[in-house]
Symmetry: C2
Subunit: 261 residues, 2 copies
């Protein structure tokens, strides 16, 4: 059930059926216009312009997103029709939750969180995150749970654009913050190979199954939606912790020491 | 079903059962700390510091919230156990959707929207609103649909605080913007009597039914959540249209003429 449809959504339908290549070009164009590597918060993060308190706020809030990934993937897996598809999707959950004897992405994110000086248990409680983080991430979970399988798969396609941002982020952060180590950023290394594997599959699925004008427009809208989910999280961080520094009541406040660090 | 509970929520339980008066005092304290009359965007709006383009952005985005009220109230009404309760709640929907021969709140908001120079059809499409607006308002709908009836009722209690902000807003806007008329602000006048009637009922309901520590904490958390819903909408407006003026890709851009007006 999707309570949003029918009263607020407008897919700005076009009447033209696209070829799979045209559809892919449309998806990539959305990434060029809307992916969050274009957000000023990311530029500040990568170029060494943030203080430790601001990086803590980023790591804390972003954890809530990381922790939600296997939740949304479980909702999607529950609706996939074949064991082959579920197996493919299960790999994503294993990447994040870990396998026997192997830490997953969430655990590696907690290492990052500790590496920037936060208490992992506080981060896991998520009671100091920004409302923008909670609402955007929850919107993503609900989208994947409530929309068609095709739209849910399409909403994962921001991973098409993530290897670039990850390379920029890791090299930029290592170069510009002497207190951040390779070990702290260990989350990102496996993502450089995992994300392309995931997005190759999702892209092929979307190219094959989006075979009507309506489905194609829904796929494009799903990717725009997902870009908004990522963008809005950085909006919240920028407003609260960069400028004008408007931290909402009840949200994380970096210590003066971390702000000056 | 609530997909958020159990992996991200922490109600910071206390062990003390409050009296109804103490519970009410707790609810009012939340309003004093977190209600969006404290947000700098509202102070700018009321004191005449915004240009026409900024007021357009506010009216456009706020419409999405207004239009969602009868949706969330319908979800709640569907779960109320008696016809008396449903009748009480139906009045809210009638206030917003209108009665035969009588415009409701949504129609009056469209008058406001036109009064500030926007096209009502564009506003109703809602395709130029901010991601923060969409995610916060949708979060409110999902909350009311998915949580207990008690929490859903409690989340309406921001109306306890709305008469003050409405009086400030109407007198402030009339005094400070010579192009805004009483007629444009007609939305607000009935709210001054409707909101107290609604919140009297909801407060009595909550005082009566929140009879365990867990329910009381859930009620307090519901009101905090709702304050976040309102606050986050103003965060989005502030970041995009006040400072630093970071309008997200695809969102409403006021014309230069309106910005200079």
């Amino acid at each position: 059930m999707d309570c949003r449809r029918g009263w607020s959504e407008d897919f700005t339908m076009t009447e033209t059926l696209l070829t799979p290549d045209e559809l892919e070009a449309g998806l990539r164009a959305i990434g060029r216009e809307r992916y969050h590597n274009l957000h000023p918060f990311h530029r500040l993060l990568h170029s060494g312009k943030l203080n430790r308190g601001q990086i803590q706020a980023w790591a804390l809030n972003r954890y809530y997103y990381q922790a939600a990934i296997p939740v949304k993937d479980s909702f999607l897996m529950a609706r996939l029709p074949t064991r082959e598809l579920r197996r493919e999707w299960r790999r994503r959950i294993e990447d994040h939750d870990g396998r026997p004897g192997e830490a997953g992405g969430i655990e590696r994110w907690l290492k990052l969180v500790e590496g920037v000086g936060l208490d992992a248990a506080m981060v896991e409680r998520a009671d100091l995150i920004l409302p923008e983080t909670r609402f955007a991430v929850d919107a993503y979970i609900h989208f994947v749970r409530d929309r068609s399988v095709l739209e849910a798969v399409a909403s994962s396609l921001t991973e098409l654009f993530s290897p670039t941002i990850i390379s920029e982020r890791v090299s930029g952060m290592l170069a510009n913050y002497d207190w951040i180590t390779q070990d702290t950023l260990a989350y990102f290394t496996p993502r450089l190979t995992q994300a392309p594997k995931d997005s190759d599959f999702a892209l092929a699925y979307v190219r094959e199954h989006a075979d009507t004008v309506e489905k194609q427009q829904a796929v494009l809208a799903a990717l725009r939606f997902k870009c908004d989910v990522l963008w809005s999280q950085l909006n919240g961080l920028y407003l609260a912790y960069v400028a004008p520094g408007l931290i909402p009541p009840g949200a994380f406040e970096p210590s003066l020491e971390e702000v000056l660090a």
